[in-house]
């Protein structure tokens, strides 16, 4: 049942990214190119996507204040709250990669459906980056069996 609910959420999410144009790297780059304001080339429309998505999820979260989900015994919310160096460094690395090609993880995976070679290359490289990070974390942290699992349970 949880898997079905998750399938539906992924599906709705995918449609949202598709209809909003977030799956188009050129559109994403056009949005990130704020210095094109000067010649009228800036495309602000993805800010609307972000705002609309936040309006629904933010208001919903604030109004419904879920104490427990329907299909599980408890919420699995991120437990980390520290604004630390890994957060900054990771965000910078992600931002640089995103700015280079215009793909972030969601649209990249969704675009696999088009069987486009550059997208496949990107997703494989992304998986390599993720696995490399997790192996490096597992090695530098105490090698407990739960290390990888807990690394996967944070913000998302």
């Amino acid at each position: 049942m949880r898997a079905l609910a998750s399938l539906a959420c992924g599906f709705i999410f995918g449609w949202g990214l598709l209809i909003s144009g977030m799956v188009m790297p050129t559109k994403v780059l056009g949005f990130l190119d704020i210095f094109a304001i000067a010649n009228g080339g800036w495309d602000p429309s993805l800010a609307v996507v972000m705002a609309a998505a936040l309006a629904v999820s933010g208001l919903g979260y604030a109004l419904l204040r879920p104490s427990a989900p329907l299909l599980d015994a408890q919420l699995h919310l991120p437990t980390q709250t520290a604004i630390d160096r890994p957060l900054f460094v990771g965000s910078v690395l992600f931002g640089v990669g995103w700015g280079l090609v215009g793909l972030c993880p969601g649209p990249a995976i969704e675009n696999l459906a088009t069987l486009s070679t550059p997208v496949i290359v990107f997703v494989v490289a992304m998986a390599v980056g993720m696995i490399a990070h997790d192996l490096w974390q597992a090695r530098s942290a105490a090698p407990t069996p739960g290390a990888l699992a807990s690394a996967g349970a944070a913000d998302g």
Binding site: R2, A3, S6, C9, F11, I12, W15, G16, I19, S20, M24, P25, T26, L29, L32, D33, S45, M50, A53, L54, V56, G58, G60, L64, P66, L70, D72, Q74, Q80, T81, L87, F88, G90, V92, L93, F94, G95, G97, W98, L100, L103, C104, P105, E110, A113, T114, V121, A125, A127, V128, G129, A132, H133, P145, L148, A151, G152, A154, D155, G156
Partner: protein, 176 residues
Amino acid sequence: MTEMGHVRPDQLQLLRALPSWKGRVAAAHTVAREVRADDEYRLDAARCARVGLSALLLLLLNGRIAGVTGIFAGVLDPAGTDRAWRATFIAGLIAAPLSAMLIGYAVPVPQMPANLITIAFAGVLVGFGTRLSNGCTSGHGICGIARLSPRSIVATGVFMIAAIAVVAVTRHVVGG
């Protein structure tokens, strides 16, 4: 191309010089359709809200954060727990454009103005970076900000600034 694609003459010169120019010419017959799709495209905030709706539903139903990074990494990790719901989320994500193709919606083929080496490099940065900061546009940008998490607000600010800076350099300094 100058007329239809709104490409500036100096950019056109640059495009001609690139090895991908042949491919562009070969694909020229699709340009008209793409421009048409772009022109007909109307942004509808209610539709965009689907992303937020999905994130909210996943939390309300399964109590999980709809962060693509964490979900995808959880599927990749052979020792990971709860791989089933993560895998179905990814399946749903990929099924969306497939279903769109089935009903005749023109799914855009992604165009990336970079060569494969740059794309692979960017992919590794995105993969490593999102794991290090524990989230991407969905996990921090949507779910985290929706929960008013200070960590996510900072992360989103940082990756937006980094991305904007990179686009500024590649488009206006190097490519300008």
